[in-house]
């Protein structure tokens, strides 16, 4: 059976080799159960390190223009990169 692992990395800017500032991992194999607050050091220094470790990039957040009058409003982490690994598991 094939199962998916999904890694979300939040980087310090839009370049994939920028520093990781936030991260999440969901393991579709069921071997690990990751959750909020379970790790205080990032799994990789940068997004590029994740690529080198075999993670496949499947989505990157777009760069959007800033709406006039809202240029200084901040909300969600801006540079989100989603990666996957497809893993063979035993039924």
């Amino acid at each position: 059976m094939l199962r998916q692992k999904v890694l979300a990395l939040y980087l310090a800017n839009s370049a994939l080799d920028a520093v990781v500032v936030g991260w999440s991992l969901w393991d579709g194999t069921g071997e690990t159960r990751r959750m909020a607050g379970d790790e205080d050091a990032p799994p990789y220094p940068t997004g590029l390190h994740a690529l080198r470790d075999g993670w496949r990039l499947i989505q990157a957040s777009p760069l959007l223009p800033h709406a006039r009058g809202e240029e200084f409003d901040l909300a969600y982490l801006k540079y989100e990169f989603l990666f996957e690994q497809i893993v063979e598991t035993r039924p």
Binding site: A8, Y10, L11, A12, N13, A18, V20, V21, G22, W23, S24, L25, R33, R34, M35, A36, G37, D38, E39, D40, P42, F72, D73, L74, A75, Y76, L77, K78, Y79
Partner: protein, 310 residues
Amino acid sequence: MNDLPLLSAETMASFAARGFLRFDGVVPEEINRQFLEEMGDIDPPRPGQKMRRTYGEMLARAGVPQTPAGAPLAQAYPDGSALKRLLDLPLVAGAIRSLVGEDPVFDHHFLHVTFPPAYHEASGGENVSQHYHQDSTIDPRRAFDIQIMYYPHTVTREMGGTRFLPGSHLRKVSEAAIARYQNIRGQQHMVCEGGTLLFLHSGIWHGGGVNVSDRTRTMFKVRINPSRSQVRQFDVSTLKPQETQRPIFYLKGPLPPSVEQILMTPEPWHENDTSRLELLNRVKLWRYLTGDPDYDADYWATRLETLADA
């Protein structure tokens, strides 16, 4: 009220920059003990009983009044109760006054109990941490509420502790929309001795940690609104006027400690570009708290507000 120990300008600046103040072990043990006695015992785990029922029974029994939202904070708790005594502690009353001003208003409170694995096993549920969230709703105000988190007993790392992200309070997000973020650089966990208080700006991102110890973890939260001005409520005698802007970028050495230094210190999770907007938003909050519409630190606002004399 004038004798209250108000927050200093530097402590207030730290709150403006980071969105929290932590006071370790400041609640006397006698009040901690009284509080836990008033909350009552928690039943041991019962096979098949859902956590919702366990929690509901506990809340019904606990000696916390069902206070209406919008009541004056001064009338929220009966005289002599542990919570009234806690709020009347000079350090606590002074911090509340400094942060939300005179005549603060009770918003809501809650008894947070995090259960050890045995309860979840008995209920058939999963023992997981709480997602990151910002309380209430999207909050576009410059004004802010505070939330006091009270830890009446020692909290170890195994017991979970409240997780929060310093400096996240100025981000306008919608409650659990941030749940996707499991971990963020610089996040902190409340591992503390009994009698510790954590004052939070209402915008701080936070979540309860998973309890993998063998005992319950209790935390009491009360949210407080301002009803009057939040301007210059801290100890303004400690506020040193900034005579000139500090030099920026090209520095020959470290600059001396100051309110500006506190306001301009970034967090480990800051993105490269939005970090500068965070600093600008801190300047705006400091203008609000000091009533000084022209205040700036490190030229972030001045640069944008200086009009060319065309």
